[in-house]
Symmetry: C2
Subunit: 321 residues, 2 copies
C-alpha cells in the first residue's frame, strides 16, 4: 500500500527522460546528450541533522538539493536520482510520506525526478541520494589558473549561523527575522543548478561549498596545484545581510561562520576577470603556491582552517572521496 503511494508521489513528476521509474529492479532512462555525471550524498541523523531541527518534508527536500549541488559544481544538469532511506523502528508511513513529498518537491524544483529507491530499517534515520545528470564539458576542481579571480556564487555563512541557533535551541524565531532567515538557509538550501550551468561557459574550476569554505577552498587549491587567496574585505562585503544582522544581535563574529560554514551549498569558482558573470562576486585571487589563505584587512595572511569534517580517523578524511 505504502509502496503504491510512493510510486504515485514520484510518478507525478516531469519524466521526459524516464523510460521506467519506481517499481522495477532498476530505473531506465534515455541516454543523455553529452557525458553522464554521477554523485552520492548522505544525511544521517545525529551526524548531519537532528530530528527537531527540521520537518521531514524539509529533510527530504534538503537531501535532494545537497546531492544535486555536487552536479551544479560540475556545470552539469541533474536529470534523475535514486534514494535509499533507512527508517528507525516506529517510523510511520505518514512520516515516510512527508519525507517523500519533500523529495518530490525538490525533485520538481531541480527538474530531477526520483526514479527509484530502496527502503530498509536501521537504528538511525538516514537518506542516501544518488543524482545522475549530464554535462558537455565537466567543470573539474583542477582547472584554476594563476591570475584567475575567485568567485562566490550564492550565500555563505547564513546556514552555519542557522545551525548554531538550532543547536542552541533558540526557540521560535520570526520568519523574516535575521535568525529566522538563517535557520531557513540551513533547512532549505537550494542547489545552484542554473548558476552551475552558467559557470560552465566561463569558469576554469568550480567546487560546491558543502563542508566549509576553508576545507573546500583547500580542495580546489590542491586539485589545481595553485594557491587561493581570499580577500577579507571582499568576503565581508559578500556576506548576507541576515547573517550580519544576526551576528550583531548576538555578538557573534560573522567571518568565522562564513569560513567554516558550508551548508549553504554556495559555489566557489575560479575564472578570468573578463568572464565573471554579474551574479558571481569576486572574493579573492588565484596565485602561484598551494593551499587556501585569507588576506586580512590588517595585512596579515592566514591559512584557512579545515571547516567541519564529518569523519576523522588518522588525519582528515573528507566526506567526498
Amino acid at each position: 500500500v505504502l509502496l503504491a503511494e510512493l510510486k504515485r508521489i514520484f510518478a507525478t513528476q516531469k519524466r521526459g527522460q524516464v523510460v521506467l521509474g519506481v517499481g522495477d529492479d532498476a530505473a531506465v532512462l534515455r541516454a543523455p546528450v553529452g557525458k553522464v555525471v554521477l554523485s552520492v550524498d548522505a544525511a544521517i541523523e545525529g551526524v548531519h541533522f537532528k530530528r527537531p531541527w527540521l520537518t521531514l518534508t524539509q529533510l527530504g527536500a534538503r537531501c535532494l538539493h545537497a546531492a544535486a549541488s555536487d552536479l551544479a559544481a560540475m556545470g552539469a544538469k541533474p536529470s534523475s536520482c535514486v534514494c535509499h532511506v533507512t527508517l528507525t523502528p516506529g517510523f510511520t508511513s505518514a512520516e515516510l510520506r512527508r519525507l517523500a513529498l519533500g523529495q518530490a518537491r525538490a525533485a520538481d524544483e531541480i527538474g530531477c525526478p526520483v526514479v527509484g529507491g530502496n527502503l530498509s530499517r536501521g537504528s538511525e534515520l538516514s537518506v542516501v541520494t544518488t543524482v545522475v545528470g549530464s554535462v558537455g564539458k565537466p567543470l573539474a576542481r583542477s582547472g584554476a589558473r594563476v591570475g584567475d579571480e575567485i568567485w562566490l556564487v550564492g550565500e555563505l555563512g547564513a546556514a552555519a549561523a542557522g545551525l548554531r541557533l538550532l543547536e542552541l535551541r533558540s526557540g521560535r524565531l520570526a520568519k523574516g527575522s535575521p535568525g529566522g532567515q538563517c535557520v531557513r538557509a540551513w533547512r532549505e538550501p537550494k542547489a545552484l543548478v542554473t548558476q552551475g550551468l552558467g559557470l560552465a561557459s566561463c569558469a576554469h574550476a568550480v567546487i560546491d561549498v558543502s563542508d566549509g569554505l576553508g576545507i573546500d577552498a583547500e580542495r580546489l587549491a590542491t586539485a589545481s596545484a595553485k594557491r587561493l587567496v581570499f580577500d577579507e574585505a571582499e568576503l565581508l562585503e559578500a556576506l548576507p545581510i541576515a547573517l550580519l544582522s544576526l551576528c550583531r544581535q548576538r555578538g557573534w563574529e560573522a567571518l568565522p561562520l562564513a569560513l567554516e560554514g558550508g551548508e549553504d551549498y554556495a559555489l566557489l569558482a575560479a575564472g578570468p576577470r573578463s568572464q565573471r558573470p554579474a551574479w558571481a562576486r569576486k572574493v579573492g585571487a588565484v596565485t602561484r603556491g598551494r593551499g587556501a589563505y585569507v588576506s586580512l584587512r590588517n595585512g596579515e595572511r592566514r591559512r584557512l582552517g579545515t571547516g567541519y569534517d564529518h569523519f576523522v580517523a588518522d588525519g582528515p578524511v573528507t566526506g567526498k572521496r
Copy 2:
C-alpha cells in the same frame, strides 16, 4: 592520506567509460550506447549482516554484487558505481581499506568500476551502492505471458542455509563441506550479469531473487498481471547439491529455504519454451490469474509466502521501491 589510498585502490580498475573518477564533486562517464539503467541497494549492520558473519573484504564485494544483480535482472550491463559508507566510531582506516579492496575486487569481476563515493560516521556500519549501466531493450518484470515457462538461473536456497548456519554460530566449517559451501554462497554471491545479458534476447520478464523466491515471484506475477505456478518436483531438482546434503545432515527441509531465501541473487525469468537457454532451468509455468503458487507433488497448490522482508510498517513494505 586515507582518501589518497581509496583513490589509488579504485584507480587501478578498468576505466574505459570513466572520464573523471573518485576525487571531484561528481564522477563523469562517457554516455552509454542505449539507455541508462540505475539502481540503489543497501547493506546495514544488524539488518542485512552482522560483523562476525563475514570479513570486510567479503562485505565490500557482496554489496557490489547485490547492487549489480538488480541490473542483471534488467538485462543491463553495469558500467560504474558510487558507494556511500557509514562508519561506526572506532572504525579504522585499515578496516576501511579492506572494505574498499572488496569493493574493488567485485568491481573488477563485474566490470563496473567504483567512480565515486561518500564517507560519513554513524552508529551502524552501512554501505549504500548505486550502480549505473546501460541497456538496449530493458527486461521489465511486467512482460510475462500465459504459456511462458518459469526459468531459474543460478542457485536457490544455499545462501539462506548458509545464513542459518551463521545465525546458529555453527563454528568453523570445512571449506568444501556442504555447510562451508552454503556459507560461502551467502558471503560471496555473484551478480549474474552475463546470464542477464543472455536473457535479454529470449526472456519476456526477469526479476532477481533478492528478498526470497516467494516475494519476488509475487512481484513478477503482480507486475505482469499473471499467475506463476512453480512445480515442486522441478524446484527440488534445481536445488544445489550442497543445500540438499546440508539439509540431510541437519534434518532441515530444503524447499522452504529455497522458497524463502533470496540472497543467492538468482534470476527468475519468464520466457517461451523454444527460447530457453541451456543454463536456465524450467521450474514452473505462467498461467492466467494472479499471484505466485507452488504446485506440490501431492497435487495441492499452495500460495507462496512473502519471504524475508526487511521492513514492515502498516502492511508489507518492500526493500525495492
